[in-house]
Symmetry: C2
Subunit: 477 residues, 2 copies
Amino acid sequence: MLIRQIIVTLVIALGVLCDTADNKIEECILPEDLVNEIASYAPTVQKIINTSINGSFKGITYNELAYFVDKFGNRISGSQNLEDAIDFMIKKSSASGLDNVHGEEVKVPHWIRGSESATMIEPRTKSLTLLGLGNSVGTPPEGILAEVLVVKSFDELNAKAGQAKGKIVVYNQDYISYGQSVAYRGQGATAAAKVGGVASLIRSITPFSLNTPHTGMQSYKDNVTKIPTACITVEDAHLLQRLQDEGYTIKILLKMEAQTLPDVTSRNVVAEIEGSKQPEKVVIVSGHIDSWDVGDGAMDDGGGVFISWGALALLKNLNLKPKRTIRSVFWTAEEFGYVGAFGYAQQHQNETDNFVFLMESDIGTFNPVGLEYAGGATGYCIVQEIAKLLAPINATKTRQSPSVGSDIEIWTGNGIPGASLDTENDKYFWYHHTPADTLDAEDSVSLDKNTALWASVAYVIADLSIDFPRDSLKTKH
Amino acid sequence: MLIRQIIVTLVIALGVLCDTADNKIEECILPEDLVNEIASYAPTVQKIINTSINGSFKGITYNELAYFVDKFGNRISGSQNLEDAIDFMIKKSSASGLDNVHGEEVKVPHWIRGSESATMIEPRTKSLTLLGLGNSVGTPPEGILAEVLVVKSFDELNAKAGQAKGKIVVYNQDYISYGQSVAYRGQGATAAAKVGGVASLIRSITPFSLNTPHTGMQSYKDNVTKIPTACITVEDAHLLQRLQDEGYTIKILLKMEAQTLPDVTSRNVVAEIEGSKQPEKVVIVSGHIDSWDVGDGAMDDGGGVFISWGALALLKNLNLKPKRTIRSVFWTAEEFGYVGAFGYAQQHQNETDNFVFLMESDIGTFNPVGLEYAGGATGYCIVQEIAKLLAPINATKTRQSPSVGSDIEIWTGNGIPGASLDTENDKYFWYHHTPADTLDAEDSVSLDKNTALWASVAYVIADLSIDFPRDSLKTKH
């Protein structure tokens, strides 16, 4: 214990030297012993990879994911589908021989969509493809029939605030990136209500569309009227913009039955491979088990759940028991704002010091390229060494972010190191939160590689002679 | 007249020499005078291109197409929308100063979709995205609730004929190419009815899907029960296949209000630039003005109509009057089997000898690469020389097919030479017959280039000293 602490301190001290002013690592100076120790896992990692890619686990992640999404379909927070899927994953994890399998209760939102439609009435009749946004209120049963004001930005809305009263505000914001454009989904209704809008529609947040609607969360601000809000397709947003620019008066009849019912009890699913030496120290691998209520939630985040389940099942199958515990968590109600993860953080706050490293896959399980890392400079040096072990699947790339993951951001955004799966996910936002989030977005070979990567990284970090260092980037700037 | 005939004969004789056994042209031996004559059009073509790409016509094709699709939306055969759009194009062609603008009446089908839905009832409830196929009958008002039989091919259906009785047959055929896979759309219902199926669903004919349904024509065979038929998405066809393979019993409730009303009168729209020397000889440029009843028909075939209108309007604007007549035709009811074109062929059968060359754009107006040609070997040599003039827009490629076009195949499939617009259309079938066929599939710069290409090729062929030769490939094999 003492020797390990000394090594850790030394490692951290050396690690600081590696961190340049602009936060780019130019050189890693890790103790040679540690580098050699990490390299010594190569045969084990090769065995994990072989088993997943060409051995007894080949195709299992995809096939199990397929069986799961075919059986349950989508799994929105509050739904019986989600709870059935949670029961299934608890049984499946037990059947895979994992340790301490159980659900941990947490209250989650219960928003239901109901039927919904948007029909352009003027200047001509056209049925618009739409999806209500999460948490939206509904319209009166007869709907809301109103003139439309199309704006490209919040700035334009504010400049035209005088024209918005009584109108349906349509945001035709450009797609810059998901992170930048999603503000229109999250806050569009509130901004429209503030200037007197009676409903708001956003252009779906995506770089590519085949008339594809993309739902997602939105939040009302306190003390602002809650108005119904939905997404329309990129194509229809463009159409409405052009019609407005051509001088037409546009009217839309919006009908939404959406409503929020009382919270219900859901569960985060937990399963472990208990550590042989320090079982109280935990490496977490995770994905979220809930999805939106469209498509089948195969990509978001069935893939993340099944490579996390697959990683533990594979290690168990190979009888690889690391020094520390590897815990898989399938978070519930991620889509409504990390609800399951926040509950977990609260319930496990006394355990936080033992969270050695957190991993989440929630940005696609396409062909892997490596890891996106959040944490300190020395840790990054270690991650780079571990990534070298992934050369057999050509997934050795690493990059850094201030925080990673969705659910695990609660921890990685607060100085606890972790990593996201990094894949060739340039089409992720084509499918995200749409009816096209089905098994067709997934690929068996990629899933095998991701399961291998997930198992390898978790195993090495859980088994190292030292705790993964917590020298936070945040403390150095 | 006589001198021209001699030249034509000579050209044809020389052309034959160019045609090798495997139908590939190795060398073109055209009279030097003719080659020089074609090359002499370079300044004129450059002027057409400059005007369309950077001059007074820049952006006009796109803007006019946008105005058109925004105003009318989709335009299915039999609809008032289509007739309003036809009226509009007649007025627009007149306003552009074109000659002999008029509509020519033809009887067209009047099929209407009505509301429609397909809900998987077992093994779990899922609403399937579908679009009824053209000419389909409807279901009884209460729908058809039946077990499903999924097959990958007609062969598999026949092998399992004993299991099909009373079932909804789902075709999960692979996408090989549009031409090869479309047989399942065209004949799937009849094949299913023959073995006792009560309805049929096909996997949409596309190489890529975001849960995108692709409608289209289908035909019932005489003396076979007409059963309701629709397309579902690639994703849902895959789902049904997997569920069947996993051993589930699948039941679907199909409701379709589709019905065929009596034929109505529509019109092919005709406009000309009358030839200065031989006005009776005609070069046709064309696209079809009808569309399916989903999306806005911007790509299929608004683009084809508007580059054909644009080509004539541009030539008129430049005061370029060729020796022969250039005629634009906007065919009606193409989607129901070239109905407008067949009517036109019958009404103009006495004029066929004067059809010098026919052009149609109905496979997308993406960035142009050149021309796809049907006709004789000498003609191909001439087309290759003309294509060289298109170097300023990098659209000099040519290739041959036994017939080209959709509507004009009536003629090009029967020895009358013609060409299709050839573009970078690898995504054409992503949008084809879907709600995503909107203006977003079109691009202003590409449309400018296509208008220039269309105008240039039509003008040169209409103005050459010789009639375009009719040495048909068909007569040589």
